[in-house]
């Protein structure tokens, strides 16, 4: 799913960005797991650019929108609720290599587990601290 981006076919690149950014992500079990908040683009020696990863998680959208302080704050807040020790591990949890992306359609399926993504940390925290304490949280509503 590498998208070449030489000026000659720059139109297709724009296209790819439009088709990727802000799309809904689904994990390998079909669970909703965040949106494509940003893309990692790498340039090889010949100057060609490739989309190498989907970025998704707390603070990333804020960074993309130029709100660095908000982005840092969200990242920090998330680190506290999740207590991920190293920065490196954190980076891995917000980065989904493009090879793991399946078909690019109205939603994008990625071959990861929702629990391995930073975008799911708050969901889990909310379950442990709030929703899990309210009776009836685990049953589907009655038909």
């Amino acid at each position: 799913m590498n998208v070449p981006a030489t000026p000659a076919i720059a139109g297709r690149v724009l296209h790819a960005t439009l088709d990727l950014l802000d799309r809904q992500l689904r994990d390998r079990n079909g669970k909703l797991c965040g949106n494509v908040d940003d893309l990692e683009i790498t340039r090889d020696e010949s100057g060609q650019m490739f989309v190498t990863a989907i970025l998704c998680g707390p603070g990333i959208l804020a960074y993309r929108m130029g709100r660095r302080r908000l982005g840092r704050w969200l990242e920090e807040a998330n680190r506290r609720v999740h207590d991920t020790p190293s920065h490196h591990e954190r980076g891995e949890r917000t980065r989904i290599p493009i090879e793991l992306a399946g078909e690019i359609g109205p939603t994008i399926e990625v071959a990861v587990d929702v629990d391995d993504l930073a975008s799911h940390d708050m969901e889990r925290w909310t379950l442990q601290h709030i929703i899990g304490h309210i009776p009836g949280n685990s049953s589907r509503a009655h038909q």
Binding site: D22, L32, C33, E123
Partner: protein
């Protein structure tokens, strides 16, 4: 009966738009002040919501993506965020009014001060969001809301001069006691109510909740074509009742208790009871619609798991947002704000944000990668939808100045 139950989603969505707390009063007030001279706006509005709700339902059925997902994708995160903040704010105002409205309608029959009932109502709204299945919810409140048809029966029982009602609708004019500005302001309020954004948030998310697929495109059409016109009919019936019964006696309408007055005076106590059940169901239904919509828009913008088709423990942030919206609305309601004023302002403010919601729907309904090559809009539908988009933009521009000039329509 099965057919009737099948259109419950459309009916409940429409009730939230046309006859929720603020609109019940606004419809009656319009009838009392402008006769039927603004009825045409309801007709224009209902066509608009039919066109756009059908598109949103079709997109949801074909690719499982509800409206607010599309908003971020097509407007980009910035405009999407602006729409999110505006929609959430307006939604919360409306929710405040609905919770207070349910409390008011209960206080009419129990003579307990409505402020004491607000926390009780809020808890019940939360409980339904937490526990009741989506299907059950849409059926109970959608169908009970149809008790409001008693207003239509009342109009029929009065046996009005149909020609006069009809000609005021087709040849409208500004009554002598009103100005062009108040006429336009009330027109926008009615149009904004017909096309309230949370109708499509709720309708398209409901289509996903109900598990619609390609097979259900017919269901989508029927829901839209029966649900929304029914909402418009109820709205017009309430307007006509006020025009026929209240206007000749110089009774103005500014609170909920006066809305049902024509039914009581023409049809008696049993009919009044039916009308009150209808008012209760409509306001409660609208409270559910707005509290769920609060969860839908935030979760869909941020890509969280959402929906009542999941157990709460698998859509935790969604449920937290709903609970926070209900708590916020309750606290605001407890300050004793006039719920009628709150919805009137929220409708008019939402009119200013309408294009941001409807534009992405139109774009996606034309995109074969989302709806498949066979289900994109036809030419006629696109022409009609484009005309409405122009109207929406004009309305959005005119709204705030009119609100200031008329001091909120007074």
């Amino acid at each position: 009966m099965k057919k009737l139950l099948g259109v419950a989603l459309g009916v409940l969505s429409a009730i939230g738009g046309f006859v929720d707390m603020g609109d019940l009063v606004a419809n009656a007030e319009t009838g009392a002040r402008f006769n039927m001279n603004l009825a045409w706006v309801v007709l224009v509005g209902v066509i608009g919501i039919i066109v756009y709700a059908e598109m949103s339902g079709r997109v949801a059925a074909l690719c499982g993506r509800p409206v607010f997902d599309l908003v971020r994708e097509r407007l980009g995160p910035r405009f999407g965020m602006a729409n999110l903040l505006a929609s959430f704010f307006i939604n919360s105002l409306t929710l405040t009014a609905e919770i207070a409205g349910v409390a008011l309608s209960l206080s009419l029959v129990s003579s307990v001060n409505y402020l004491f009932l607000i926390p009780v109502v809020a808890f019940l709204v939360w409980l339904v969001c937490w526990r009741m299945s989506f299907v059950m919810m849409e059926r109970i409140f959608g169908l009970l809301g149809l008790c409001l048809l008693v207003f239509a029966v009342t109009v029929w029982k009065i046996g009005p001069d149909w020609n006069e009602l009809f000609s005021a609708t087709t040849h409208p004019h500004v009554p002598h006691s009103e100005t062009v500005f108040t006429y336009a302001y009330f027109g926008i309020a009615l149009f904004g109510a017909a096309m309230t954004p949370y109708e499509v948030f709720f309708f398209s998310s409901g289509a996903v909740e109900d598990g619609w697929t390609k097979k259900d495109l017919g269901e989508n059409k029927i829901n839209v074509l029966i649900g929304f016109p029914l909402g418009a009919l109820l709205s017009l019936a309430i307007m006509a009742c006020a025009h026929l019964v209240l206007a000749p006696r110089n009774i103005g309408v500014d609170q909920l208790s006066q809305v049902a007055l024509p039914v009581a005076s023409v049809m008696g106590r049993l009919a009044l009871a039916i009308a009150l059940i209808g008012i209760f169901a409509a306001t409660f239904g609208a409270a559910l619609e707005t509290s769920l919509s609060a969860g839908y828009v935030v979760a869909q913008y941020l890509g969280w798991p959402w929906g009542k088709h999941n157990a709460p423990r698998t859509a935790t942030r969604f449920h937290v947002v709903i609970a926070l919206a209900i708590v916020g609305a309750t606290l605001f309601g407890l300050t004793g704000v006039d719920p009628v004023k709150v919805t009137e302002y929220s409708i008019v403010l939402s009119a200013a944000a309408l294009p941001l919601t409807y534009f992405p729907i139109l774009v996606i309904a034309n995109d074969p990668r989302y709806v498949g090559p066979d289900h994109t809009n036809g030419r006629f539908l696109n022409a009609l939808a484009s005309v409405y988009l122009v109207i929406l933009v004009l309305v959005a521009i005119a709204t705030i100045p009119l609100m200031i000039i008329t001091k909120g329509g007074s």
